[in-house]
């Protein structure tokens, strides 16, 4: 729990808070990008180089752009007249607190079961690649199928619009 960890955690939490509290939707999307960057630096702090750079490449380079495009191409960028907070915010807060309590309890329960203070394994990209095609080949193939389905679905959604206007 070093100083760098607290700094990065503060950056991530600040980004996340800004993403829900700011008025302008595009500002919220940019704050979300800051939260993604904070997560990437946290991965790098744990010496997980591949996870950190993949986080930057995928989340900041693609997902953030996607979110921003979605905001711009729809009418979502205008803030609604009656504010952005819903009327049932107390129920939402209780549910979120309950989920957080369950997750925190689960994490704290498993902490004593971990081996004591082993040095962090230096995972090279080669080992990740080997694991992906060796032990985790089924999840890899399922993710590939999922991406193909998403691509085909996007093409179909775009195609239908053109046929209707003809």
């Amino acid at each position: 729990m070093s100083f760098v960890f607290y700094l990065l955690a503060a950056l991530t939490v600040a980004g996340g808070l800004a993403a829900v509290l700011l008025k302008n939707t595009v500002h919220c999307a940019l704050a979300l990008t800051v939260a993604f960057a904070g997560l990437a630096f946290l991965y790098l702090n744990l010496d997980a180089q591949f996870a950190g750079f993949a986080q930057i490449l995928v989340y900041i380079g693609a997902v953030a752009i996607l979110v921003v495009f979605a905001i711009l191409l729809t009418k979502g960028s205008e803030t609604p007249k009656d504010g952005v907070f819903s009327k049932t915010w107390l129920a939402g807060l209780v549910v979120a607190a309950g989920v957080f309590a369950v997750l925190g309890w689960a994490v704290l329960q498993t902490a004593p079961m971990l081996p004591k203070a082993t040095p962090a394994p230096a995972v090279t990209v080669g080992q990740i690649g080997n694991a992906l095609v060796d032990r985790y080949v089924l999840p890899l193939e399922i993710v590939a199928v999922l991406l193909t389905v998403a691509l085909i679905g996007a093409v179909i959604v775009a195609m239908h619009d053109k046929e209707r206007t003809r």
């Binding site: 500002h27 750079f53 993949a54 930057i56 900041i60 693609a62 752009i65």
Partner: protein, 391 residues
């Protein structure tokens, strides 16, 4: 003596850092390297701006700038002073914070990319195991900066330019990454120093550069096209075309912020050319084994400058591509060829040494290129010009 000249920058750094107490030496060494990079590449940028203006001028049958200094060599300095003293105009309805942050984020992301380029033997700033991935991650961060610039200006032309730029950058990012994956497949490592070392071998005096293999040549051509599109350079410069969208996403920027965008674009050109040289042209290795006595950093920067000259040449020669032509080109033509290139590289690896793999791989790539080109162009009619008049 030749070794010393080759490692002169490393030795200089060690000598300077030797004056400090032992605890501070590594940090001071890294800081010194960072300062040198941040000082050197903008100087190279000034030289490139001069080269571009003179080069474009000569291609267009006119002299470039020739008033300021001999042959106009001091023109970039005049440009720099001008941009520093111009008024910084921020539109009233613009989003001031995002408007300020956009060029900063662009320049920071582009400078980060220089950290993993091996500029000579033992001359990498950070020797990362996943160096290639880091480079492309920084390249992806520039797209957010471009979007921020276009959106925060509250200007229809800026927004249009930003949207076009981001769409183009995302499409060609896929091509860029896929054409680099071929190199990673054959080398077996994402580390840029290992990729250069794998190309630093010689057979009968000729180097093992990846561009001299069929899949490497195809990969290099696709990488260059994608690099031209990623840096919004002609013939892919519709997002910032002067006659199209005023100036695209940097319309509302004046003074030093505009200079920062300009700097960011040229630095991105340098780093992507440097990466292309590392991946396909052998990085800092010499073209022939008998030329190994020339320092390695001279080879790297020569390859970089040759790539820049080719960029300038393409800008002066080729017409601009329209947005839909650009997108079709990326998704329908280059992307299938990239995927085929992956297959051909795998075939190369598993066919074993010999002349057969050269013939088979070259044949597959050539036939696919011609066939795909013919298929894409079958709806175009090339014949005598038809005129359509307004009725």
């Amino acid at each position: 003596m030749i070794d010393k000249l080759d490692q002169i920058f490393v030795l200089l750094r060690q000598w300077v850092v030797g004056f400090l107490p032992a605890g501070w030496q590594t940090a001071a060494g890294v800081l010194l390297s960072v300062v040198v990079i941040v000082a050197f590449f903008p100087a190279l940028f000034a030289l490139t701006v001069w080269m571009e203006r003179k080069g474009l001028g000569r291609i267009q049958n006119r002299l470039g700038p020739n008033r300021v200094g001999p042959f106009g060599l001091l023109q970039p300095i005049a440009d720099g002073i001008k941009s520093l003293t111009k008024e910084d105009i921020v539109p009233l309805s613009a989003d001031a914070v995002v408007h300020l942050l956009a060029p900063l984020m662009l320049v920071v992301a582009v400078f980060m990319g220089f950290a993993v380029l091996p500029m000579g033997r033992n001359m990498v700033l950070v020797d990362m195991d996943a160096g290639l991935l880091f480079f492309f991650a920084m390249g992806a961060s520039t797209e957010v900066a471009v979007f921020m610039a276009g959106w925060s200006s509250r200007n229809k032309y800026s927004l249009l330019g930003a949207m076009r730029a981001v769409a183009q950058m995302i499409s060609y990012e896929v091509v860029l990454l896929l054409s680099s994956v071929v190199v990673v497949m054959i080398t077996g490592s994402l580390s840029l120093t290992k990729i250069v070392e794998a190309q630093n071998q010689y057979t009968w005096g000729l180097p093992h550069w990846y561009i001299f293999t069929p899949w490497g040549l195809a990969g290099f051509v696709m990488y260059s096209i994608a690099a031209t599109a990623e840096t919004n350079r002609s013939p892919f410069d519709l997002p910032e075309g002067e006659s199209e969208l005023v100036a695209g996403y940097h319309t509302e920027y004046s003074g030093f912020k505009f200079a920062l965008f300009f700097l960011g674009e040229y630095l991105a050109m340098f780093s992507i050319s440097g990466m292309g040289a590392t991946l396909f042209l052998g990085g800092w290795s010499a073209p022939f084994s008998f030329l190994g006595w020339v320092p390695s950093w001279i080879w790297f920067f020569s390859k970089l400058m040759v790539s820049i000259v080719v960029f300038i040449w393409m800008r002066g020669t080729l017409p601009r591509l329209r947005q839909d032509q650009l997108m079709n080109f990326a998704w329908k033509f280059i992307l299938p060829l990239c995927l085929l290139n992956l297959f051909v590289a795998a075939l190369w690896r598993f066919m074993g040494e010999g002349w057969l793999r050269w013939v088979v791989c070259s044949a597959i790539l050539f036939v696919a290129y011609v066939a795909l080109g013919r298929i894409e162009m079958r709806s175009e009619h090339f014949g005598p010009r038809r005129y359509r008049y307004a009725e």
